[in-house]
C-alpha cells in the first residue's frame, strides 16, 4: 500500500552538496520544500567526533561512511561485447550515502574549471582542426560559459570559506596564484593553508624548473571563518584524515558545516532520511513530473506529489533513476542516438612514488590535509600546445599528499618484496622520507561513444530493479595524455632531490578494483541540443521541464580538476534561473 503525502512545492532527491544548495535557494524563494535522502542523518558530534574519527581501518578500509553495495551497486565491463559483472565491493570510486553526501568525506579540493573547458569542442576545433580529435570522441560545449558561472563559483567559495591564493583577479595575474585560471571577481575568502615540508619543496623545485606553482585551493580552512549565512567554521589542524572521513573539527566545508544549520531551521523545509526514491512519477503525457515514490527503512512506500522535482543524487544514480522512470531517451551507442547514459566519464589519474635519502629528508607525511599541496597547471586543459603531442586534454599535477595513514601509505621502493624481513626494513627505512601524492597527476577524461551507462540485463537491487551498468575503458588519447603528464611530474620529484622515482602510469584496461577518485561524471549531460544532451544549460530536463537534474552528471566530459567547485557553481546557476525565471513562468527555459 502506498501512502500519499500532502503535496509540496518542490521535492529534492538526495541531500548532498547540490541538494542542499537547491533546498536553500528554493526555500529562500518561499517554496515549501522536502528533501528525501537514502542514507542516514549525519552530524559532526555523533558520526565523526574527533576522539574516534581518526580510524583508518574503520573508515578507509571498511568504508563505514559510504553506501553499502548490499543497498545497491553497479555492474561493470570494459567493452560492449563483454559480460558486465557486479561491483561487489567498492574500488575505483566510492558512492556516498547520507545527509551531506560526498561533501562529508571529500578531500575538499575546490577548483574552478578553465574558461576553455566549457567551450571544449569549439575551442579545440578552432585551434587544431576537427580532424585532430579522435573520431569516436563525443566531447561537446556545455552551453554555459565560465563568465556566466563566475559569480556562482564565487558564491560557493564564500559559502565554504575556501583557502587559496588568487591567480587572476579581474584579469590581472597575481603572484603566487594559478596564472592559468579564469578571472575571479575577488580573492579567496581565506588565505592558503600552510604547506608542510614535502609540499613546499615541490613548489620550490617546480619554480626552479620554470613553472608557476601555487597552493591547491582548499575547503579545509587556514583559519576560522564565518560564512555569509553566519555559520562558523574552525581552522584545520592538519590531522591528515579528510577524504574517506568526516571532519571532527568543523574545518572541512560540507553541507553540515556551511548550510544545514540554517536550512534545517527553516519552517518551509523538511528532510526525510533513510528513505530511497524508487522513481520519479510523470503524468500520462510523460512531459510533466508529478512527484516521486519512495520507500522508507521499514519498507513502507510513500508517494510525494510536488510541482517541481530536483534530482540531485550521486552522478550515476541520477542516470539510473532517469532510466528507471523512463524520462528522456536512453542512450544507444550502436545508433548513437538517445541521451540518458551518454558521455559518462571518470578521471585519468596517475602517481609517482619517490624515495629520498633518509639522513637528509624527513617529511612527516602524516601532517597534511585533504586539499593541501602545491600544484602546477601548465599541463592542464589547453594551457599548452597539444599539436606536437597527438592528444587533447590534461590535468593539474602536484605534491598533494593528503596523509601518512600507514595501512595505505607505506611506500616501498620498486623491487622490494611485498612481505618478509626485506619488506619490513623497507617500510621502516622509507616511511618518513618517501612521497606518495596519491592523485598526483589529475588528468581529464574526455567522452567517447562506447563509454556509457545503461541498465543491466541480469543483476538487480534490493527493490528488484535493474542495476545501472557501466561500460568504460581508457582510450588512447587519455593513455598518451597520462604518459606525457606523468613524465613531466616525475621530473619535478627528481629536481626535489629524490634518489629513486617510480612512475605509475595509468594504463588500459580501466580497473574497477583500484581507487581513482570518486569523480564520476556525465550520463545526464547539459548542452544546447536535445539530441545530445539530457538537460539544457540551466540543468532543466528537455523532456520534463519541471524536473532539474544537478551534479556532475551534467558534465559533458570531465576536465583535469576535481568536480565539486563546478557542480556547486552549476547548482547555484540553476537555482538562480529557477528563482528568477522558472517560478514566474514554469516551462522550458530554453526552447527545444
Amino acid at each position: 500500500m502506498t501512502t500519499k503525502l500532502p503535496a509540496k512545492d518542490a521535492v529534492i532527491i538526495g541531500l548532498g552538496w547540490t541538494g542542499s544548495i537547491l533546498a536553500h535557494e528554493l526555500t529562500e524563494a518561499g517554496l515549501d520544500v522536502i528533501a528525501i535522502e537514502r542514507g542516514p542523518w549525519r552530524n559532526t558530534a555523533t558520526d565523526f567526533a574527533p576522539n574516534y574519527a581518526q580510524d583508518e581501518l574503520r573508515y578507509r578500509i571498511r568504508h563505514e561512511l559510504f553506501l553499502q553495495p548490499a543497498q545497491t551497486t553497479f555492474t561493470f565491463r570494459n567493452k560492449m561485447d563483454q559480460n558486465a559483472l557486479p561491483i561487489r565491493n567498492w574500488g575505483a570510486f566510492m558512492p556516498p550515502n547520507g545527509v551531506g553526501g560526498g561533501g562529508v568525506h571529500w578531500n575538499a579540493e575546490t577548483w574552478r574549471f578553465l574558461p576553455s573547458d566549457f567551450v571544449l569542442r569549439t575551442h579545440l576545433t578552432q585551434r587544431y582542426g576537427a580532424k585532430f580529435l579522435p573520431q569516436d570522441m563525443s566531447i561537446q560545449d556545455w552551453g554555459v560559459t565560465y563568465d556566466e558561472l563566475e559569480p556562482h563559483y564565487d558564491r560557493f567559495e564564500y559559502l565554504c570559506g575556501t583557502s587559496g591564493t588568487a591567480g587572476n583577479l579581474n584579469g590581472q595575474i597575481q603572484p603566487g596564484g594559478n596564472p592559468f585560471e579564469g578571472p575571479r571577481s575577488r580573492p579567496y575568502p581565506t588565505p592558503a593553508q600552510q604547506q608542510p615540508f614535502s609540499h613546499a619543496l615541490f613548489g620550490k623545485a617546480a619554480a626552479e624548473l620554470g613553472y608557476k606553482p601555487f597552493p591547491q585551493p582548499s575547503g579545509n580552512l587556514s583559519q576560522a571563518y564565518t560564512n555569509p549565512l553566519n555559520v562558523r567554521m574552525g581552522p584545520c589542524t592538519y590531522c591528515g584524515f579528510c577524504e574517506w572521513f568526516g571532519c571532527g573539527n568543523y574545518s572541512k566545508a560540507s553541507p553540515q558545516t556551511t548550510l544545514l544549520p540554517v536550512l534545517m531551521r527553516k519552517a518551509n523545509f523538511e528532510a526525510r532520511d533513510l528513505c530511497e526514491v524508487t522513481r520519479i512519477n510523470t503524468d500520462s503525457s510523460g512531459k510533466r513530473a508529478t512527484g516521486v515514490t519512495f520507500v522508507d527503512a521499514s519498507g513502507n512506500e510513500y508517494e510525494q506529489p510536488a510541482d517541481l522535482v530536483i534530482l540531485s543524487a550521486f552522478t550515476i544514480f541520477n542516470v539510473q533513476l532517469l532510466l528507471l522512470s523512463k524520462i528522456g531517451t536512453p542512450y544507444d551507442p550502436l545508433s548513437n542516438k538517445g541521451v540518458i547514459g551518454r558521455n559518462f566519464t571518470h578521471q585519468t589519474i596517475s602517481d609517482v612514488e619517490s624515495f629520498f635519502d633518509k639522513s637528509k629528508f624527513n617529511f612527516n607525511p602524516f601532517i597534511a590535509s585533504g586539499a593541501i599541496g602545491m600544484c602546477i597547471d601548465e599541463f592542464n586543459g589547453d594551457n599548452f600546445d597539444h599539436g606536437p603531442h597527438g592528444f587533447v586534454g590534461g590535468g593539474y599535477m602536484g605534491q598533494v599528499q593528503t596523509n601518512g595513514r600507514p595501512i595505505q601509505t607505506a611506500p616501498i621502493p620498486p623491487g622490494t618484496p611485498r612481505w618478509g624481513a626485506k619488506w619490513k626494513d623497507a617500510v621502516r627505512d622509507n616511511y618518513l622520507s618517501a612521497l606518495k601524492p596519491g592523485t598526483g597527476v589529475h588528468g581529464s577524461m574526455y567522452s567517447y561513444r562506447d563509454v556509457y551507462v545503461d541498465l543491466d540485463p541480469t543483476y538487480r537491487d534490493r527493490f528488484d530493479r535493474p542495476l545501472a551498468r557501466i561500460t568504460m575503458d581508457f582510450h588512447d588519447n587519455e593513455i598518451k595524455q597520462n604518459a606525457f603528464l606523468t613524465d613531466k611530474f616525475a621530473e619535478i620529484f627528481r629536481a626535489m632531490g629524490a634518489q629513486q622515482v617510480h612512475k605509475i602510469y595509468r594504463k588500459a584496461p580501466y580497473d574497477v578494483t583500484e581507487y581513482q577518485t570518486t569523480h564520476l561524471c556525465g550520463g545526464a549531460v547539459m548542452g544546447t541540443d536535445p539530441k545530445t544532451s539530457a538537460v539544457n544549460r540551466f540543468s532543466q530536463s528537455w523532456d520534463v521541464p519541471n524536473l532539474f537534474v544537478t551534479g556532475a552528471s551534467n558534465f559533458p566530459q570531465n576536465a583535469g580538476y576535481n568536480p565539486t567547485g563546478t557542480l556547486a557553481a552549476l547548482a547555484f546557476w540553476s537555482a538562480q534561473a529557477i528563482r528568477s525565471r522558472y517560478l514566474r513562468n514554469p516551462g522550458p527555459l530554453v526552447p527545444a
Binding site: 542516514p40 552530524n43 558530534a45 555523533t46 574516534y52 581518526q54 580510524d55 583508518e56 581501518l57 574503520r58 571498511r62 548490499a70 543497498q71 561493470f76 565491463r77 563483454q82 559480460n83 558486465a84 559483472l85 561491483i87 561487489r88 565491493n89 600552510q194 608542510p196 615540508f197 592538519y238 590531522c239 591528515g240 573539527n249 544545514l260 534545517m264 531551521r265 519552517a267 523538511e270 528532510a271 526525510r272 532520511d273 533513510l274 527503512a297 521499514s298 519498507g299 624527513n362 612527516n364 602524516f366 600507514p406 595501512i407 607505506a410 612481505w419 618478509g420 624481513a421 619488506w423 626494513d425 621502516r428 618518513l432 543483476y459 534490493r462 527493490f463 528488484d464 574497477v512 578494483t513
Partner: protein, 243 residues
C-alpha cells in the same frame, strides 16, 4: 493472509542488512536533530582467546604472521603484534561474512578488472584455505604448516603468492592476497582492533597515530616529530592500572 511476495522478501532481507542504530527513517524538521551523548565510538576487542579460529587455524595464522612480518631486534613480529588476533576478530565481524557487500547471484568469473566474484565470504576463504594448506603440508612432510621451519614455510608462501602452489578446493593466490592485506591491516590499524600491540607498528615507522592537531608542526620543515604515538584508546600510561 497471503504469502509474502518476492518483493516483500527482498525488502525484508535488505532492510535487515541496512540495520544499525539509526535505521529508523525519520522526518527532520525545525532544527538540527540532536540527542545528548549520542555517538558511535568503535568497539575495542575483548581479550578472551580465539573467537573464530580453531587451534590448528590459529597456529597456522600466527606462524604465517611471523613470516609476513618477521620479528627483528627492534620490532616484534606479526604474531606478537597481534595480527592473528586482529584477523580472528575481523572474521567473526561484518568483514568475515561480507556484510554490506553485494552478494547476489549469479557468480561468474570475469576479468581481473571486474573484481572478485567469489560467493565465499572471507571467513569461508580462511577456513577452506587454511585447512587445505595444512592438509598439503601434512601430506608432504607429516607436519602442519605451523610446525615447519621458516626455511620450509617461506617457499610455501611464495608459492601461494605466485600461484605455483595450488590449494585443493581453494584459490591459494586470492587467499594469499587477502592474508597479506589483513596482516598489514593488523600491524598498522589502531590497537583497539587487536593488532599493532603497544602501537609497535606505528613506533617502527614514526607514525603518531590518532593525533588530532599538528598546527604547531606544519611549518617545522625537515624536523622529526618527537611525540610518541597515541591510539583512539589513548596511551597505556594515561590509564594506569589501579592498585
Amino acid at each position: 493472509m497471503s504469502p509474502p511476495s518476492r518483493r516483500d522478501v527482498l525488502l525484508g532481507t535488505a532492510f535487515v542488512l541496512m540495520g544499525d542504530a539509526a535505521s529508523k527513517a525519520g522526518v527532520l524538521r525545525g532544527q538540527l536533530p540532536w540527542s545528548a551523548n549520542a555517538g558511535s565510538p568503535p568497539q575495542p576487542i575483548t581479550e578472551s582467546g580465539w573467537l573464530f579460529f580453531n587451534p590448528d587455524e590459529a597456529a597456522a595464522v600466527e606462524a604465517i604472521a611471523d613470516r609476513i612480518i618477521p620479528p627483528d631486534a627492534s620490532t616484534p613480529g606479526g604474531k606478537e603484534a597481534g595480527c592473528a588476533v586482529y584477523i580472528d576478530r575481523q572474521l567473526i565481524g561484518p568483514f568475515g561474512s561480507s556484510a554490506g557487500l553485494y552478494t547476489s547471484a549469479p557468480f561468474v568469473t570475469g576479468t581481473p578488472q571486474q573484481g572478485a566474484q567469489s560467493p565465499d565470504p572471507p571467513a569461508v576463504v580462511y577456513r577452506k584455505s587454511l585447512a587445505a594448506l595444512d592438509r598439503q603440508c601434512r601430506a608432504q612432510t607429516g607436519k602442519p604448516f605451523a610446525q615447519l621451519s621458516s626455511e620450509q614455510q617461506d617457499p610455501l608462501l611464495s608459492g601461494l603468492e605466485s600461484g605455483s602452489l595450488q590449494l585443493e578446493g581453494a584459490n591459494g593466490k586470492a587467499f594469499f592476497e587477502m592474508l597479506l592485506k589483513n596482516m598489514q591491516e593488523g600491524f598498522f590499524a589502531d590497537p583497539i582492533y587487536g593488532g599493532n600491540k603497544d602501537m609497535c607498528g606505528w613506533k617502527m615507522i614514526g607514525y603518531p597515530g590518532a593525533h588530532y592537531d599538528y598546527r604547531d608542526w606544519v611549518g617545522r620543515h625537515n624536523e622529526r616529530y618527537p611525540h610518541p604515538p597515541v591510539s583512539i584508546a589513548g596511551r597505556p600510561e594515561w590509564t594506569p592500572k589501579r592498585t
